[in-house]
Amino acid sequence: MNVNQQPPMASPYGQPQPGYSQPSYAPLGGGYPGPYGPYSGPATAYQPGAPQGSARGPPPVSTNQAYSQYAQGDIQNGPPPMDHSMAQPAQRPPVCQPYSHGAMNLSGPHPSYPQQYGVQPSMQQMTNQMSGMQVGSGPLTSAGPGYAPPPSSEPPISAAYSAAAPPSYTQAPHPVSGAPSQPPPPSEPAAPQPYYDGPPPSQQPPFPSSAPPPSQPFPSSSPYSGPPLPANPGPLQSLDNSPSHLAPSPAQQTFPNSAPPPVSQALYSGPLPPPDLALSHLPCIPCPVPCRPAPRPTPLPPGPMQQPPQPGMHGGYPTQQNGAFGQPRGPQPGYAGPQYPGQQNYGAVPAPTPAPTQKRLDPDSIPSPIQVIEDDRANKSSEPFTTGVKGQTPPLVTTNFQVKDQGNASPRFVRCTAYNIPCTADMAKQSQVPLAAVIKPLAMLPPDETRPYMVDHGEAGPIRCNRCKAYMCPYMQFIEGGRRFQCGFCSCVTDVPPHYFQHLDHTGKRVDCCDRPELSLGSYEFVATVDYCKNNKLPQPPSFIFFIDVSYNAVKSGMVNIVCQELKTLLDYLPRENPEADSVVRVGFVTYNKVLHFYNVKSSLAQPQMMVVSDVSDMFLPLLDGFLVNVNDSRMVIESLLDQIPEMFADTRETETVFGPVIQAGLEALKAADCAGKLFLFHSSLPIAEAPGKLKNREDKKLVGTDKEKSLFQPQSGFYSNLSKECVAQGCCVDLFLFPNQYVDVATLGVVPVSTGGSVYKYTYFQAEMDRERFLNDLRRDVQKPMGFDAVMRVRTSTGIRATDFFGSFFMSNTTDVELAGLDCDKTVTVEFRHDDKLSEDTGALMQCAVLYTSCSGQRRLRVHNMAVNCCSQLADLYRNCETDTIINFFSKYAYRSLLNTPTKTVRDTLVNQCAQILACYRKNCASPSSAGQLILPECMKLLPVYLNCVLKSDVLQPGADVSVDDRAYLRQLLSCMDVSESHVFFYPRLLPLVKLDGGSLPMAVRNSEERLSKGGVYLLETGLYLFLWVGANAQQELLSNIFGTPTFSQIDPNMTSLPELDNPFSQRLREIIDSFRSQRSRYMKLMVVKQEDKAELIFKHFLCEDKSASGGASYVDFLCHMHKEIRQLLS
């Protein structure tokens, strides 16, 4: 959809939705706050904001609170109430300060506040002006004008953003707002007020001192602003786009004009401030537009823009759908909310008036992920998704739907970035839309879908194309009466073996077509023959070996005890294919510190025997018989062992550990047993004992942010990559559970797990009572989950495209075969395709992913997934059939991998660039003509900016000060094998308001922004790794009683890890929801209760990804403005 950035920014503010009266602010503020979060001060600031948002009336209160919180710092500018003017002046200073601080992270936050405040005022002013001016564009202008003038350069910047963004959205917003909740109502007046109220106070404090500082900030933060503004583009643009949503040159003015500045500053600072220079700058750019103070007047133009929105609003939602069809028109004239409206935009572009009233970029007016998700859910979850039609875009990952396999692989197995791919490489290059498939070969299916059928083609093995070796699939064309078939991939003709012959019916299909899964389904399995086995020998059942660190730290944290206790029962749940039968997986046990202790648990022994190998420099397996045993045979001995391990090492004083030899030992064991298998390592510390693979502590925070940052992600030595090569050759998959108290060098320790298809789990500062559940659930799942061993995956494609790049946890010794020592049901491999020839629209493109693996019962199998997509010669078709979630999945994996070799900043820039190009290409080639100031997004990708921003803001790409190198390395590796659904929630967490929990459905999520939080509410946030239960300070007593069993906010124990089991429907339902969330993810999410204004809230706020982040990540609004600017640059 298109988001036209129109001046109307103002509108947004006004419209803020229900919850957030101030949403507009909030967003901004939110963004900042997050970051600031750390500081108490900031936090409060937010709150105030929030409160304000919630109730305009309340503002005062909030303000008070805010103050109080701020109290410290902020001088209470009692003044808050003060006039804007007043405030402004004050504000500026503060702003400045912030910046100065800005240098420091902390300062960052402050600024934010002030900014916010400032903003608010500015907003107000703006709004006023805007409204007046309207600046729909006004905002832009406003930014420019309003902000610009007033504030110093900085502000302008921010303003610019706000302004810019708003405009476009604003319009939309109006509509949106209107449509949804409080449309227009928020009318300017209302909104403003709150703002004023709230903001002023807070702002003031900061400002006071800041006055002088401002200048400083400007330089730094606003470099752009300064230049840009002047530069002009602003003006030009603005001129061009009269409506140009971007705020006019305010910036320039701002600089000059001190007076206005305050406000503007505030605004700008808010957005731009601290964080990303880049981003912030960007905003500045927009400023140019705003520059024109004049713009304000222009607002009108924007107005028009806005108008469209309105229309959009009406049809808004629908439009979206429409949008899908034809971008051009539908689009929303709208602005984000607009999106919908956007569609109309094209058409309606002019319409805009409504917006004018409110000038700011209303967060509600920009594309809302929640809206998109809800719409998709509403439209697509009712009917089963049938895969028979080529090139269909499946429902979103957030939608519950049933799949009927009719010839293409279910989206649960394969998701593509685009289902209609360009015919030529040129087109693909032009669009910059990545062509990739995210494949989860062994994905678990819901109970109501059948797992892939097993096909046995007899002793000769699966039937394959003679040339390209593609496996029999629905795309093989039978000819000559069924005696031969033509390969859909390479067109080669192959004889049908006699035992497979079947006659064709009048349509040329085999008559047994429907009886054979391989001829009618997208996913199925073949029984592999001995030719497909290593050394031409049928495989042995796999083995699981448990390696338990028994060094001091591991024992002390309680880990050893927990693992040993758990294993006693867990061993009964080893994976098996027939639930009736016992698992054939054999198990072995090793404990280690700086030496390894192997255990002989042969069933004939009365007691286990421990064999210590202290010669770790040259690892070997000290025993053969009795190491790997069948659980049932040796149950007594194993239990005795697991009972004794904790006792034996209870008094250990050994602190050093080894790591390399541990894996080597497992490898040797599997070699000796001649089987594949999985090693479970429970490890606590950096392996510094003298042994191969010894590591040193190289954590150096100083490198973060420099060009050398990448070295932190690279393994310390080549030892582990060599080792993983050997592991893969043997089919030895390594799963690593880390319990570190300090740096353990995840980047290096993770090499083997990542290359062998294993997983890394990390429990930092593991405490038995707090983390036990999480760890045990992870372990249980990890042990029980279905998986394949010693797997090789090969992706074949039809002529014209080719798999060129792969992402995930695996090893590749050549360019085509993905080797996975282990492949479990959660592991995803992302494959990128490139053209090597022209494709035809008639035939489309085919892809076949074949995975050869050994099942947990020791059977060799081939799982085949087929996928056909359309090809297009029109870019519009491409843009209509993309899946943003998948694109983001691909982009994030690509970016995270690039970190290894490229400076982080470059990676981020590249990402932004590519997205800008994608969107610019769309704008240029597919969107209906409209003013350049309009941001038009394809329907399918209207969430691209928000998601991309989330990727850019992630801890990996933009770490906060408290994010350790290990955490980043961990997340980096984690993401590499995430499927789309996981990556989606990982980047854009799900935030549920816990209101009425009746019925089977979930409450509708809200957007991840602080301003959406109501102080009186309780929210559940799911990030894919954690669950947060945020409790507002004013939450209703009844609600609290229902959830916690206590009516008082202060009595809630923030350390609880599970909710009390209360006998009321609300509590039950809530726990059900939590359980169901947990069951959907491959990792157990620990529940953390966050009380508003509690310290822990900072962590929580970190996940409010539409807000500005503490680490400097831009808010959604700001980022959207930035994207717009980038796009415009590309277009111009």
Binding site: V595, Q607, P608, V612, S614, D618, L624
Partner: protein
């Protein structure tokens, strides 16, 4: 005065010393002409139940270079309370404790009958005995079972305070931690690697007791004298018994055509290392039980391919034994480490094929350890020999002693050339060390890590007195043997033997000297020398040297003995025989060289007969004792009678008695000998009769059987010359070659 034979016997009885000459030629020149050097066979721990140990320490000569012990040969001035050292003539004050000394109140060490006396050192802690079992698990279940039983049995023979340890090995080496509750622990090492003591110490997590404790002195004794791997028998008796009971055959698969991988070299290295860092300079036995050759890692003697047989003498001569040198080097290094710390290495090799004793011999030879060779752990040869290791004397103490050192002091006219026996040099230079080395020379002190009542060293001397500096008439040369050792009770003891012999001028008293010649001792001394040279030099040269040196009956048999002849013996067997020869006392050594042959018949009481083929008669039962074998041979007729079962008939009871007589005699020998001999009961034409036939003098062969009397004896199919021919040739030589 008694005759020389009496004198010799008396001396041997009292002091355990036999000299080749009992009157010494008084100058170097004369001594050299005597061909057989002045030398002695000395049995340091000659069993002397009548000799009570003295509970104080010896009085030493105050001269630093001398330090000889006060002895009955010293001149004492009772009034001045002085004594003169008879080696360096230093005059010494008696220590204060001897204040009451007088003509009539003499300390024991001054009484002539105490020329050999044993002191008990009171200082220092009682050291525990340490027994470390090193057990091969690559063997047939039956063997392993027998071995396990023997080992379990041995636990009951150890004193309760003795420390025991267990190392098992196959492809891997396991050092078992003893006395742990519940889970049994062991440290595992791969057998392809040699670890030095320091590495081993780290890997086993042992802290070195010496460094820390030695500094603190008095506290040292308090330190626990055990560790996780070596624990008192009383404490871990049950545990170890169970552990042994659970011992399994090495589980690693052995494919067709391969030998099991046996990490013997590393296992021994680890055993040595373990003791090295836990009990240095303490008596300890490493008892190694092996069922085959080392096939991997350091010290391997053969590859694991069955198609490549283990080296034979032939290969060695052709320099075609590729593992031998390296292996030998490894074991020599081990032997040297062990002996430095006073540890004994025993080897019990039970296999049908060779096990690499040739390479490993130094481990036993240098440390005074036992070497036992048998076909299987199931044989009584092994079982009883092993049991006999733990025999006790009347006082209930083991007959073995540990960590001994032998120091020899001589009077000025004579110096020490060297010693041959189970000892290593301590490199103690001194005024009484000769420059001419014979055997292990260049020192006046040797370390004998393990010794028992039979352990006998040959010590060679050199008369250095110049011809022109005659020794006054009646002068005597004195030799003092000071043996310090750890008694099996843990006490440290010192046994001092002081002997003296008269000097005689060879020019004037040649008869006296000749009369004092001890033929048997000389023979053994020369034989030792010969064997020593055979070990260290090429075979034929030794025989030639021997032929030139001395020739008598013994030499004929010696030439034919397995000690010098390698024909028909594997390298391991040669090593084994030589090992035994080098440590046994004179009597036993004589038997080894010239087996004893007794004849039993109806013609009279049992009588010794010539070791000659003519002694093999059909109506005789022969009993041959070669030390290594006890063989009963039934002559052709006797054998037929026996087969006919006459002994069962009451009227032929005399025949039954005849049959029983040699068996009883054999049992007697079997019971007293260590190692237990192989007991063979055979008859005329039996395959085992070859043992007899190979020993007897081939006076009748297929070449001359018709020349000699037809009636008697049995022809021997050999090309060897008979004694007769040998002697004839010898006479010719003796007469003709003056030069």
């Amino acid at each position: 005065m008694a005759t020389f034979p009496e004198f010799i016997a008396q001396n041997e009885e009292r002091d355990g010393v036999r000299f080749s000459w009992n009157v010494w030629p008084s100058s170097r020149l004369e001594a050299t002409r005597m061909v057989v050097p002045v030398a002695s066979l000395f049995t340091p721990l000659k069993e002397r139940p009548d000799l009570p140990p003295i509970q104080y320490e010896p009085v030493l000569c105050s001269r630093v270079t001398c330090r000889a012990v006060l002895n009955p040969l010293c001149q004492v001035d009772y009034r001045a309370k002085l004594w003169a050292c008879n080696f360096c003539y230093q005059r010494n004050q008696f220590p204060p404790t001897y204040a009451g000394i007088s003509d009539v109140n003499q300390p024991a060490e001054l009484l002539p009958q105490f020329s050999t006396i044993e002191y008990v050192v009171q200082r220092g802690p009682l050291m525990p005995l340490v027994f470390l079992y090193v057990v091969d698990t690559c063997m047939e279940d039956e063997d392993l079972q027998a071995l396990k039983e023997s080992l379990q049995m041995s636990l009951s023979l150890l004193p309760p305070t003795a420390l025991v340890g267990l190392i098992t090995f196959g492809r891997m080496i396991q050092v078992h931690e003893l006395g742990c509750e519940g889970i049994s622990k062991s440290y595992v090492f791969r057998g392809t690697k040699d670890l030095n003591a320091k590495q081993l110490q780290e890997m086993l997590g042992l802290t070195k007791p010496t460094a820390a404790q030695a500094g603190r002195g008095p506290q040292a004794p308090q330190a626990p004298l055990s560790n996780r791997f070596l624990q008192p028998v009383q404490k871990i008796d049950m545990n170890l018994t169970d552990l042994l009971g659970e011992l399994q055959r090495d589980p690693w698969p052995v494919t067709q055509g391969k030998r099991p991988l046996r990490s013997l070299g590393s296992a021994m290295s680890i055993a040595v290392g373990l003791l090295e860092c836990t009990f240095p300079n303490t008596g300890a036995r490493i008892m190694t039980f092996i069922g085959g050759p080392a096939t991997q890692g350091p010290g391997m003697v053969v590859g694991d391919e069955l198609k490549a047989p283990i080296r034979s003498w032939h290969d060695i001569e052709k320099d075609n034994a590729k593992f031998m040198k390296k292996g030998t080097k490894h074991y020599e290094a081990l032997a040297s480490r062990a002996s430095t710390n006073g540890h004994i290495i025993d080897i019990y090799a039970c296999a049908l094929d060779q096990t690499g004793l040739l390479e490993m011999k130094c481990c036993s030879n240098h440390t005074g350890g036992y070497m036992v060779m048998a076909d299987s752990f199931t044989t009584s040869l092994f079982k009883q020999t092993f049991q006999r290791v733990f025999t006790k004397d009347v006082s209930g103490a083991f007959k073995m002693a540990f960590a001994g050192t032998l120091e020899i002091k001589t009077s000025r006219e004579i110096k020490i050339s060297g010693a041959i026996g189970p000892c290593v040099s301590l490199n103690a230079k001194g005024p009484c060390v000769s420059e001419n080395e014979i055997g292990t020379g260049g020192t006046s002190q040797w370390k004998i890590c393990g010794l028992d009542h039979n352990t006998t060293l040959a010590v060679y001397f050199e008369v250095v007195n110049q011809h022109n500096a005659p020794i006054p008439q009646g002068g005597r040369g004195a030799v003092q043997y000071v043996t310090q050792y750890q008694h099996s009770s843990g006490q440290k003891r010192i046994r001092v033997t002081t002997t003296a012999r008269n000097w005689a001028d060879a020019g004037t008293q040649i008869q006296t000297i000749a009369a004092s010649f001890d033929q048997e001792a000389s023979a053994i001394l020369m034989a030792r020398l010969a064997v020593y040279r055979a070990e260290t030099e090429e075979g034929p040269d030794v025989l030639r040297w021997l032929d030139r040196q001395l020739i008598r009956l013994f030499m004929f048999h010696l030439r034919r003995s397995p000690f010098l002849q390698v024909f028909n013996n594997s390298p391991d067997e040669s090593s084994y025989y030589r090992h035994q020869f080098m440590r046994q006392d004179l009597t036993q050594s004589l038997i080894m060289i010239q087996p004893i042959l007794y004849a039993y018949s109806f013609n009279g009481p049992p009588e010794p007969v010539l070791l000659d083929s003519s002694s093999i008669l059909p109506d005789r039962i022969l009993l041959m004792d070669t030390f290594f074998q006890i063989l009963i041979y039934h002559g052709e007729t006797v054998s037929q009678w026996r087969k006919a079962g006459y002994q069962e008939l009451p009227e032929y009871e005399n025949f039954r008695h005849l049959l029983q007589a040699p068996v009883d005699d054999a049992q007697e020998i079997l019971h007293s000998r260590f190692p237990m001999p192989r007991y063979i009961d055979t008859e005329h034409g039996g395959s085992q009769a070859r043992f007899l036939l190979s020993k007897v003098n081939p006076s009748q062969t297929h070449n001359n059987m018709y020349a000699w009397g037809q009636e008697s004896g049995a022809p021997i199919l050999t090309d060897d010359v008979s004694l007769q021919v040998f002697m004839d040739h010898l006479k010719k030589l003796a007469v003709s070659s003056a030069a």
